[in-house]
Assembly symmetry: C2
DNA sequence: TATATTTAAGACAAACGACTCTTAAATAGA
DNA sequence: TCTATTTAAGAGTCGTTTGTCTTAAATATA
């Protein structure tokens, strides 16, 4: 799989939050139910995004999580790198260490192009824009389609 | 990681064999030493390729493995699908089942393009051609660069 | 201050990928 | 026919990812 499950959950949660920027804090419990993701697992993932300053959390009653200013401007690439790390965009297709133009593997050049096209795609789309599109077109972000944009 | 380790090993082994089509059977032991891949693990991977008729094996003294006629014409995509399956080229970026134009996720269209560009890249290059290039340019297919094309 | 609510943190467990090892089956050659 | 060589097959091990559970810390409100 291209992206880890953690990363996919992180992306879905980010889109969820980006669609409700008016809100102060959203509870993780509510979000986990809406998105059908295990509460504790989602909490862990959001902690990573909080550690990377893409989100901010608040404990206690009416607490929850929200996008930080940085998070509101984030692209999908920022989320992916925060969770899965940058390896996907730096590593050799054959996993050879130090594969580069000076000592390339047979796939080096072609793979460079593909990697860039993945990166461009993720970098091109910012969260807010995608969430707006998602709401306008009622795009699906849960398996069963139960989620409703609001 | 885009490709599993098994898949990467399978690709490297396929390139190895494609560079010596003159040879009848190559022993897996020799190949595993040349490519610095665990013998037993490589054996398992090659069994998958044999099961998919991309390779043929022969037991006993002077036995080994070789590309089948089908394998000689194979592209990188054939190897990848034989080992990792077709999921990479069919699955939704967010892992949503049945994601398609009728019920798309927000990434559906962009991801379709990326998926196709990966597929095209792998389909464009056949083993024989890549092995020829590899030999001509002394491209690396081991981590330490110890492998010598011949 | 006491209680309820909420995230943080960490231990634990299950599933999977990546190997390792042992035994079986086929086959060449002495 | 016996032995050595080689792949086939399957059980077992180890580490990482995924997911669960419990306890701690923060905080709003009564």
């Amino acid at each position: 799989m291209l992206l880890s499950k953690s990363c996919v959950y992180g992306l879905r949660a980010s889109l969820y939050l980006a669609s409700r920027t008016e809100q102060e804090y959203t509870s993780i419990r509510e979000m986990s139910e809406d998105l059908d993701i295990s509460f504790h697992f989602l909490t862990k993932i959001l902690q990573q995004l909080t550690a990377d300053s893409l989100m901010e959390s608040y404990k206690g009653p009416n607490g929850g999580i929200r996008l930080s200013e940085k998070g509101k401007k984030a692209t999908l690439l920022d989320i992916v790198i925060a969770i899965d790390g940058p390896e996907l965009f730096t590593q050799c297709a054959l996993g050879l260490p130090g594969c580069g133009s000076s000592a390339p593997c047979p796939l080096h050049d072609s793979w460079l192009n593909v990697r860039e096209s993945i990166k461009d795609m993720l970098e091109r789309t910012d969260l807010k824009h995608l969430a707006r599109e998602g709401r306008a077109n009622k795009f699906r972000i849960t398996a069963d389609g139960s989620f409703v944009w609001r």
